[in-house]
């Protein structure tokens, strides 16, 4: 296992999906934020974070994800999460992320809901 994070983006019609692989910590969170803000600048207002490749997230990573959520609210956009491990899903609920960014079991359900 590695502490670094890889993020790839799939740009679709009206929606961009970010796939993470690795640790969402300070570096990983910044990497996601950089890409998310770039996508916002490109005009994307709906983002989906697919965390299937992530087993671990820390408080710094969460605080950065909260900032991305705030940014999405600011631009009247939507952000969702999918494919979370049970531990990460529980953490997101406790930390309040789920209150502002819906969590979906799989990508298909997320795309169906966010894209609607």
């Amino acid at each position: 296992m590695t502490e670094s994070l890889n993020v790839t983006v799939d740009r679709r019609e009206g929606l961009a999906v970010l796939y993470t692989e690795g640790y969402i910590n300070n570096q990983g969170g910044e990497e996601i934020a950089k890409l998310a803000y770039k996508l916002i600048d490109e005009g994307y207002k709906v983002l989906l974070l697919n965390l299937a490749g992530t087993k671990i997230v820390n408080s710094i990573g969460i605080s950065i994800l909260i900032e991305i959520i705030e940014k999405m609210i600011e631009i009247d956009g939507k952000l969702g999460f999918c494919c979370l491990t049970p531990t990460i899903e529980k953490t997101f609920h406790i930390m309040g992320l789920a209150q502002y960014a819906p969590i979906f079991k799989d990508e298909a359900a997320a795309v169906a809901q966010l894209g609607a």
């Binding site: 640790y23 300070n26 671990i56 408080s59 710094i60």
Partner: protein, 522 residues
């Protein structure tokens, strides 16, 4: 302020009513301030961790962090509660001093800071809940997760995540050494002695850890994983993260990691015991199967031969044993009789029994039962066994018509021949046990069985069975039973001897495998 256009005030009023737009309100107010006071640029700074950091800016040219000692003359500085308002040029600040718009700006900044502090505190409270949940979850895993591998990974990932560490390692204690089980975020040393002085001090709270514990980490924190009966491993995390990079762990982190390790210890111990139980169960199943195979090797009954009665019996000390016997007809007019005892007990002895049985019957297809067969068997056993393994054996060939009983005793207990008139003859050794020496020659001896003569071949598990006072059952008791049952059905003697041995032992554990072969000419 009075000069501000109505449209601007309307916008500000709308923003003030919206709780989510404090930042936007601050930006708009600052921009209004800049325009009202003819400034090219204006920026607001709030005190944070001993520094004045920029919170909002209208226009450019002002620093991200303001250092009062290096203030430039062209920059105007206004002190406001909890921060500063800087502007370019400095002349714009004069009109701003005591201006209601400046006060409004200061109040909005303070409001923003309070909200940010509240948000941070809420975040910290929530994260404490995440920590407690992690402890609770690992506690639950005691009952739920018995997969040691999955549990170990979960424990390491949660420890790294909880402590905001960048890397970590889990070591398990095995045979007095800490063995690396897994790492996260970098390599680690393979193992450390349990009493490694530097490691021991480090786990007790010392600052210095062995260099290989988690080499990539600049800052380390480690705690032992221990249950009531002692240490089971250690958990180490490295490099505490913050938004500014990595640094040392905080004093409270040792306690958090320690609490987590205590919960993890119980979970790991539970999973380890479960694994052991599964392994024991598997071994028991295999032993059961081995015992079944061995039962197939031993004869299911004795040949029915007119003029003779014969029977065999075996009771291993464990599930499987190292004793062997066989009774078989050869060409219809001869009877083969074998009793053997492999040195040792349990699985190794049982495997040798299997080797002996196969080799003996293969050789019997090619050779007469006699010294040459035993010599070839000796060679085979010598080649097939470890140096300390040997087999004692009494092998006999009975001519059913004449009663001539040829026997070879390879280091086995002397068989007992009780004549009808009460005399006893011993069928003693005529060679060394099989598997000890190469090139051994065996000699055959014989006795003639007359009607009423009773032969008893046995293993030393019978005669050396011990009472609670360490007395051996002995051959005298065996002979007494033979005499007592000489004219009774043979089956009665076959049941009487084991019953007498069991009664003699009075519940003492059976120390050795027990085997009996009885043969009487009617």
């Amino acid at each position: 302020m009075a000069g501000a256009p109505q449209q601007a005030w309307d916008e500000l009023l709308t923003l003030a009513r919206d709780e989510t737009s404090d930042r936007v309100l601050l930006d708009r107010l600052l921009d209004l301030w800049r325009r009202e006071h003819g400034a090219e640029a204006a920026a607001l700074y709030a005190e944070k961790a001993g520094l004045l950091r920029q919170e909002a800016a209208a226009g450019s040219g002002l620093p991200a962090v303001f250092d009062e000692s290096s203030s430039r003359p062209e920059v105007g500085v206004l002190r406001i509660p909890g921060g500063r308002l800087l502007c370019l040029p400095a002349s714009a600040a004069e009109a701003g001093a005591g201006d209601p718009l400046t006060l409004l700006l200061a109040a909005t900044l303070k409001n923003c800071r309070l909200k940010a502090d509240l948000k941070e505190q809420q975040f910290q409270v929530n994260y404490r809940v995440v920590e407690l949940e992690a402890l609770y979850d690992v506690g639950l895993a005691v009952a739920a997760t018995l997969d040691l591998d999955r549990l170990s990974e979960e424990i390491l990932l949660r420890a790294v995540s909880l402590l905001d560490a960048r890397r970590g390692a889990l070591y398990v204690l095995e045979d007095g050494r800490y063995r690396l089980d897994r790492t996260f975020g970098g390599e680690a040393g393979g193992w450390f002695d349990h009493d490694h002085p530097e490691l021991r001090d480090f786990l007790l709270g010392g600052d210095t850890a062995p260099a290989d514990l988690l080499p990539a980490a600049r800052y380390l924190l480690g705690v032992p994983i221990q249950v009531e009966s002692g240490a089971r491993g250690l958990l180490a995390v490295g490099d505490k993260e913050s938004r500014r990079g990595v640094g040392p762990f905080l004093p409270g982190d040792r306690r958090t990691l320690g609490l987590f390790a205590n919960q993890a210890a119980i979970a790991l111990e539970n999973a380890r015991l479960h694994l052991q139980a599964l392994e024991k169960e598997r071994l028991e199943r295999e032993m059961h199967l081995a015992a079944e195979i061995q039962r197939q090797i031993l004869p299911k009954g004795a040949p029915q031969v007119e003029g003779y009665a014969m029977a065999g019996w075996n009771r291993p000390a464990r599930q499987v044993g190292g004793d062997y016997y066989d009774l078989f007809l050869m060409r219809g007019d001869r009877l083969g009789v074998v009793v053997g005892d492999v040195s040792g007990k349990g699985i190794p002895a049982a495997l040798m029994v299997s080797v002996l049985h196969s080799a003996l019957h293969l050789l019997l297809d090619q050779t007469e039962l006699g010294p040459p067969l035993l010599e070839r068997l000796n060679r085979h056993i010598l080649e097939s066994s470890t140096p300390n393994k040997f087999i004692t054996m009494l092998l006999a060939d009975l001519d059913l018509a004449s009663g001539t009983f040829h026997y070879i005793n390879a280091g086995h207990n002397p068989g007992l021949l009780l004549r009808r008139d009460g005399r006893v003859e011993e069928l003693g050794a005529s060679g060394v046990p099989l598997g000890l020496l190469a090139g051994i020659l065996y000699q055959s001896r014989f006795a003639t069985l007359e009607p009423g003569d009773l032969v008893c071949l046995y293993s030393d598990g019978i005669t050396e069975a011990e009472s609670p006072t360490d007395e051996e059952f002995g051959t005298d008791r065996l002979l007494d039973l033979m005499r007592e049952h000489q004219d009774r059905p043979l089956q009665e003697l076959l049941e009487a001897i084991p019953a007498a041995v069991t009664a003699f032992s009075q519940g003492s554990p059976q120390g050795d495998d027990q085997t009996l072969v009885l043969l009487r000419r009617e």
